[in-house]
Symmetry: C2
Subunit: 593 residues, 2 copies
């Protein structure tokens, strides 16, 4: 286990323990409360409570936080124990905790005979006991800093048909400094919230009629999408990738062959006709099986490989409404997808080529990459599919790629998928949050399931290696992250409107539109503000829309060859020769900086 | 009714009658045959027969055609009559025609009390009687020319669970010259069949696992798709259209509001969860409702209009397998779609702008356009939705557009949709076939159903006019047509591989790849053939792949600055200066000629 992992586990224990501290505090201040569940989550924890119809106020949260700090200071200890399940159910009934009873009964139904409990004590004095599978710190003092963040409604078990509970969100850290840094980050993230900016900058929209998690992109948002997609295309085509196209629907036979059908759960969109004999269709939840069919459409020779198919195509997953979030958790997921079919001796070169693309792409956005190598567990070779020698050589190739490219990288044994090793990349955004976006994933399974082959030098039929790889990941999620990364102030190449011409008076409108035309023909996205408002207001509006360049156009500009340029975020006006301005802007766009 | 229409109706009657002649001929030569149905279809007719498990041979067809010609020469007359339905069923049972009995019983079930029959007679001698709703010529002599084309299997009522019947296809014309012209066209069409060329040129593929009607495009085919899509984009963006993006899925609520839900039949892909209360989703069968939601996402002012949203997006329709055909009848239909939201006073200008796009687009492909104006029926104003004055002004605008642009156009009263008038365009391909592809369709209904509005000059809320328009129609179908239009020999801008460099010997390979790189950097799609085959074979292969330019590269080319160029279809080699060649090719690509 690496240092980072230990840190993650410690924080998780601290936060899980903090949720118990919260539950204890709630029971002390609101004794009739029924407890539901309280897990650690990314960046914090929550606990769901049934207050019998009442809700928590901000004052309640303040009081609860104070009570929690008191409990932490007492340095209560955590002790994990086990109890016979029937006894446990009796005990929970006695304590009038119906949600806990329901949880224990569900465990019994699954065949469990014992359940875990965690008890918080002050000396010999038991203060609070909760149904719990474990994962705690030793005593509350290890919770260096705690903060309650907000309260929200949440259905019991996430099901709209159940009762709405009160969910308190909080977070906890090893020390106060870490907490403060996190709170600062949260504040920044809130200011940059892509859902808010998306509305203000008119980038995308949702409609109740269309459904949750199914965004529509307005003209401005579509420009950003398309620029990102075009950049991804450019990076790949120059490296010998070929675009392909596959439909968004396939018969379930495709997924029976790929092996996914058995694992399909309720989060797949499945079309079944009323006739039980009718074909069953699936809205594709991934592109790989389709791409195998393009590969399989011809006989391939060792000379044809590698074949690098890429496609930016939308896949669909029917996520629960409660799990959706703006663009970062959607049901329509446009994947920047590629599948490489190569010979075993091409693994290292292909991994390097993908790495080049990922590195150049994130370099453009000024984002730092942290790669992590996921390997098989050498103690359990039977867990993995495919030839052991191929695994070893692929793992060695990936390690060599990383060794040559980065000073430090994590290696995790046992983290590989059953079908192949991989490199995942974490990416850090402008306010310090990390996102898992890019990946290079080898696959020894799909080629076998689809019986893919090529003819080798000796005329023998051999199975190719398949590589899945993502650069941006999902376009929607990436866009959400980009909106927050830039706080809406996109670099020129991504800005939906690159230049706003502010007309000083109607009398210059002809010249203003002439100029707009000239810029437009140079491939610059330009708009004109010829409304009746004051120049000051127009500039403020353009600034609010975070438009990179504003050109104020009045008598002086109409009679000369100079333009008056105002850059986004600057108070200064600059006089620039028109031709020079156009050339500069063209260069800036092309550089994608 | 126009002349074209009369012609269509006459041909339809001739062909329908020819199918009866065929049935008579079959019964004479194969007396135990059970008759199914025999309609006129586009370009001909067919008749389905049950031969009791036997099949028709080519010799049978020859004999049948001979017999038909004999019947035609006899000049038998057609007489239409009616019979009580129960009597008819009895009569058909007596004649041992179970399929006809089934048809008559189905009519009875629908509440019919009488059925039609058609009788062919020679003088007073009744030769053949068939269950028939009518639509015949007077006597067989009007069938100027007849030809049986092929025989194929076809399930009774198109249902795979039913018995497989023998379907004989044929065609008939007013005279022999028309028939010969048609047969010539069929021969040309067969040589150019896009399904055959698609395989030979490696443009697209189907997979049984993915399903019928769901094509996948290989790298070469994807290039053509993307070039067409890019051209459509270019034509529109320069005219103020804005790209938008919408998901391929929506809740059924969207279609309940649009009014389509009630009309949704089995050819829609509908996703119903197992829980009857779960959301019901539809794979979108059109883009319009989504686009109304983008319009509705903000308040609009008269100053914002027209708003022209365009999107090239795939819609899905679950067509019956038997109705699918290569790329021209598919289940995955990528629509070149746009919706314009405008003020009533902008109708004419918008129609003209769309016409400009359509005209420029088809001009590039060298295809002739025939517009047809579909108007409301002034006798039945109640059939149409929306303000009568708006209808009249829109109809007048469209007529004015056509009057100013074309010498002759058809006007069809009563052919408008209930929601608005339209202009449809027929397009003629290189072998004389016509296709209905482009359309300009006004819609006064959707804006009302979705309560779309804008604020007019007086601050009042007003309903915008919506325009649907297609230029290429479906990209898949258009591609299928283009493959046949060009017989696979695409103009340079569409050719997947534009230049093939034929290496004379391995020793020049470095220089060959250098040249390929240079062309590639100039944006030219180039491939190298450095295989061990002879130069002659390599050229034949490139010619077979219909590659526009071949460069033969050997000692002479390596030591000089000239290239040896061979154009597709020419036997001559030309010496051209390298720079000049690159400039020429770049120009030819940019011109899209």
């Amino acid at each position: 286990m690496t240092e980072d992992n230990i840190m993650d586990e410690t924080l998780k224990s601290i936060r899980h323990s903090a949720s118990h501290v919260l539950a204890q505090a709630v029971l002390e201040l609101h004794p009739d409360t029924k407890l539901a569940i309280g897990p650690a989550i990314e960046d914090g924890f929550y606990y769901d409570f049934d207050l019998g119809g009442k809700t928590f106020s901000t004052e309640d949260l303040t009081a609860l936080e104070k009570k929690m700090k008191h409990i932490i200071k007492q340095n209560q200890t955590f002790t994990q124990s086990e109890m016979d399940i029937d006894e446990a159910i009796k005990e929970l009934k006695r304590k009038k905790q119906p949600y806990k009873v329901e949880l224990a009964e569900a465990l019994k139904k699954r065949g469990e005979t014992k359940v875990g409990f965690n008890t918080m004590s002050l000396g010999k004095d038991e203060k609070f006991t909760d149904l719990c599978a474990g994962g705690h710190i030793t005593s509350t003092k290890e919770i260096g800093a705690v903060k309650l963040l907000k309260v929200a409604g949440a259905y019991w078990r996430g099901d709209e048909k159940n009762k709405m509970l009160q969910r308190i969100y909080g977070t906890a850290f090893i020390n106060e400094a870490d907490l403060q840094q996190h709170l600062e980050q949260l504040k920044l993230a809130e200011e940059r919230d892509h859902r808010k900016l998306g509305q203000e900058l008119d980038l995308f929209t949702f409609s109740e009629l269309v459904g949750a998690g199914l965004p529509m992109f307005t003209p401005r948002g579509t420009i950003i999408r398309n620029e990102i997609e075009k950049y991804l295309s450019d990076l790949q085509i120059i490296r010998g990738y070929q675009k392909v196209w596959s439909p968004h629907v396939a018969k379930n036979d495709l997924y029976k062959t790929s092996g996914h059908w058995d694992k399909f759960a309720e989060n797949n969109f499945i079309v079944r006709g009323e006739d039980p004999d009718a074909e069953v269709f699936v809205i594709k939840p991934m592109n790989c099986p389709h791409h195998t069919q393009i590969y399989a459409s011809r006989q391939r020779s060792y000379r044809d490989l590698p074949l690098r198919y890429f496609e930016i195509s939308t896949i669909y997953r029917n996520e629960k409404v409660g799990q959706l979030h703006g663009l970062t958790r959607v049901r329509a997921i446009t994947q920047d997808d590629a599948h490489i079919f190569c010979r075993p001796d091409q693994i290292e070169a292909e991994a390097n080529l993908i790495y080049d693309i990922i590195e150049e792409f994130y370099g453009t956005f000024g984002m730092e990459l942290t790669p992590r190598l996921s390997l098989s567990d050498p103690q359990q070779p039977s867990k993995y599919l495919g030839d052991r020698q191929l695994w070893e050589s692929a793992e060695n190739s990936l390690r060599d790629v990383l060794k040559k490219r980065v000073k430090h990288f994590e290696e995790q044994e046992g983290e590989a998928a059953f079908y192949g090793p991989k490199i995942d990349f974490e990416v850090k955004d402008a306010i310090g949050r990390t996102w898992q976006l890019a990946t290079i994933q080898f696959d020894f399974n799909q080629p076998q399931r689809f019986r893919l082959e090529y003819i080798d030098e000796k005329g023998k039929k051999v199975q190719p290696v398949m590589v899945h790889r993502a650069v941006a990941g999902a376009i929607e999620r990436f866009m959400g992250i980009m909106i927050e990364h830039y706080g809406g102030a996109f670099p020129l190449w991504l800005a939906p409107v690159q230049v706003m011409i502010v007309s000083v008076s109607d009398q210059f409108n002809d010249r203003v539109y002439e100029l707009a035309n000239e810029l437009s023909l140079a491939g610059i996205r330009v708009e004109v503000d010829d409304s009746k408002e004051t120049v000051g207001n127009k500039i403020r509006k353009a600034e609010g829309q975070k438009i990179p360049y504003m050109l104020v156009f009045g008598e002086k500009e109409a009679s000369g060859k100079k333009l008056t340029v105002r850059r986004r975020g600057s108070r200064d006006m600059e006089e620039v020769d028109k031709k020079k301005f156009i050339t500069q802007v063209e260069k800036e766009i092309a550089s994608r900086k």
